[in-house]
């Protein structure tokens, strides 16, 4: 296990910057998720950490050792790829033992380490099979097995669950988290799925356009996003945002709807008002809206209502008897209101 330090790291393809002065400190044994939309640079950063991409500037340290110019095999890392990248002509056992064979370990030692990893991942009965004889989930476990037999200092995961169906993704998510809790190996995990990031990580790094937008624990990001991008990227359904300005102690949206402010808020620069769907409730008195769409999911009901011209989402935990077209009143939880500046930065 080892800490990982990424300091002022940059990456350029010609004149095009793809990673700009990114700095992240990852503690020994920590599970950190890099999350962001496609093209934000998260996979590039992971590949730079692995040594598969050169870095244009800055410094990467693994366990205190600068690894900028060190080959991937000497970084003591293991990586799980989105496509699994299993060697198609090798059996599961050969795939898992290949790195150890290259290190010159004897057959008995390789067998022991492969068996140990196979026991952890319940791969014992599959050791003699070829990758093409395995299901998606089994292949994913073999890819993880190949990583853990090496006892690396750092695990790197590059969107490892993207090729699995929704149900299997949930199962594998739990397996990876369980594996991390057992092995306590420092892990950097790339995903574009914010649910994966929220459920698995000790800390999340939200990226956009090659820049880190926010680093923090999942609930900190959820409760106190530093800007409107993080506010809408983290959380599903996304936070409702309304543009407008503060007039006479209330936030008035661009189409004239008045929204209450948090108690004691005195700043006047707010230009965007944010409220998460579960922090809006149907009330006897409040902001009048018209129900547009009703989506019962079983555990909760999602309502899309029209607040002026804007679609606004509510998540109601209890069963609710409303129909499309019905007029209702909604009220925000005043303690959970987010206010942002014209540039999108958090104000409260």
């Amino acid at each position: 296990m080892a800490s990982v330090t990424i300091e002022q790291v940059r990456k350029q393809y010609g004149a095009v910057p793809v990673i700009q002065d990114v700095s992240i400190d990852i503690d020994d044994g920590e599970f950190v998720t890099l999350v962001g939309p496609s093209g934000c640079g998260k996979s590039t950063l992971l590949r730079m950490l692995a040594g598969l991409e050169d870095i244009s500037g800055g410094e990467i340290r693994i366990g205190g050792r600068v690894v900028n110019d060190i080959a991937p095999k000497e970084r003591d890392i293991a990586m799980v790829f989105q496509s699994y990248a299993l060697y198609p002509h090798m059996t599961v056992a050969e795939n898992m033992g290949f790195a150890l064979k290259l290190k010159g370990q004897d057959k008995a030692a390789i067998q022991n380490r492969v068996k140990e990893a196979a026991d952890i991942l319940a791969l014992g009965p599959l050791l003699d099979r070829l990758p093409r004889q395995l299901s998606g989930g089994q292949r994913q476990r073999v890819a993880m097995g190949r990583a853990i037999v090496r006892h690396p200092q750092v695990f790197l995961f590059d969107e490892p669950l993207s090729n699995l169906d929704a149900k299997l993704r949930v199962t594998m998510r739990a397996e990876i988290k369980d594996l991390h809790q057992r092995l306590k190996t420092t892990t950097v995990y790339v995903t574009h799925d914010q649910i994966e990031a929220m459920t698995m990580a000790d800390r999340i790094v939200v990226m956009r356009g090659g820049v880190v937008e926010q680093i923090g624990r999942p609930l900190d990001l959820y409760d106190r996003p530093v800007n409107t991008f993080v506010a809408t990227f983290i959380g599903s359904p996304a936070m409702n945002l309304f543009n407008g300005s503060i007039v006479d102690g209330r936030f008035v949206t661009d189409d004239g709807k008045a929204l209450p402010l948090p108690p004691g808020y005195s700043g006047g620069a707010a230009r965007t008002y944010g409220i998460r769907p579960e922090h809006l409730a149907i009330a006897e008195s409040g902001i009048p809206v018209t129900v547009g769409v009703v989506e019962p999911t079983g555990a909760e009901t999602h309502l899309v209502v029209k607040l002026g011209a804007l679609d606004t989402t509510l998540v109601i935990r209890d069963r609710v008897d409303v129909r499309p077209g019905q007029s209702v009143a909604i009220a925000p939880d005043l303690a959970k209101i987010h206010l942002f500046s014209a540039q999108g930065a958090r104000l409260n």
Partner: protein, 297 residues
């Protein structure tokens, strides 16, 4: 009464089925004709090799009798076996096999390595090298053959096995074929192997080479046929029969005064057998390679 014919979906479907059926019949007939054109000379060769009268063979050519033998005999094969040139016929066969095995064996290693490095190695000017490889491929072998003869003659290589092997090991066609095959394999395989600690040679040997059986089979067959059928080059670079291949030996049946059609036909059949065996051995991968390259575009 109305003249309008009502076309039901069932009637339309029946017409479609019958159109598809007619098309299939035409397609099958065309394939049969093409197959007949390709196979008939081989069949004629086999039939002629079983006739022991060389004048009869000549007389039968041009008629359907060329495809029929009423009194088959293996005497021609026995005569070829007792062939009394400078060397026994079997020795020419062995020469050809040695040349084929060493050319194909070395060719697979050299061309696949070059293709792999071009596909995955850190090569400066890769695009330029690839265009040079393709440019070399379009130059006909005959146009460089005389300078090549002078070169090998100056190097004192004439009348050896080496002179019939070394110049034909590296081939732009096979380098390009391997390059294309390796380039389509996923990049993650290389990266996973790099992280596992494999060197570039180890990635080639342990990961890419075992995955390239279809390409290896294709190149083996194409190189094998090319090497087996070499005629002009051995004639130019050998003065004695010591290292001469079977294709040159067969030419001795076509004498100045008379042509021994019966023995020439039997020898040709014998010459065909090893290359046919090579094809049959690698056919599965050979076909899958061609089909693979077709469907993957």
């Amino acid at each position: 009464m109305s003249d309008i014919a009502i076309s039901t979906p069932q009637a339309q479907m029946t017409r479609t089925h019958s159109a598809v059926g007619s098309l299939r019949i035409v397609q099958t007939a065309c394939i049969l004709v093409i197959a007949l054109v390709i196979v008939s000379p081989l069949f004629m060769l086999l039939i002629a090799s079983l006739k022991d009268d060389r004048f009869q063979i000549l007389a039968d050519m041009g008629s359907f009798r060329a495809f029929w033998v009423s009194d088959p005999t293996f005497a021609n094969f026995a005569e070829v076996g007792n062939f009394s040139g400078e060397l026994a016929f079997g020795r020419y066969l062995l020469n050809s096999l040695i040349i084929l095995a060493l050319t194909v064996g070395s060719g697979l290693i050299v061309n696949s390595m070059a293709g792999f490095v071009l596909a995955w190695g850190s090569v400066r000017g890769r695009a330029l090298i690839l265009s040079l490889v393709i440019a070399l491929y379009v130059i006909p072998q005959e146009s460089i053959i005389m300078p090549l003869v002078i070169m090998v003659s100056r190097a004192g290589m004439t009348d050896t096995f080496a002179v019939q092997i070394v110049p034909w090991i590296a081939s732009p066609l096979y380098i390009f074929l391997f390059y294309q095959f390796f380039a389509q394999l996923p990049k993650e395989l290389v990266e996973a192997a790099q992280i596992d600690g494999a060197s570039i040679f180890r990635i080639y040997r342990s990961i890419f080479l075992p995955l390239s059986l279809p390409a290896l089979a294709t190149v083996s067959i194409l190189m094998g046929i090319e090497s087996w059928n070499q005629y002009l080059w051995p004639i130019l670079v050998t003065q004695t029969d010591y290292a001469r291949p079977i294709a040159v030996a067969i030419a001795t049946f076509f004498g100045q005064d008379s042509i021994y059609w019966d023995r020439a036909m039997a020898a040709s059949v014998l010459m065909m057998l090893p290359i046919l065996a090579l094809y049959l051995a690698f056919q599965r991968w050979f076909v899958s390679s061609f089909v693979g390259s077709a469907v993957k575009g």
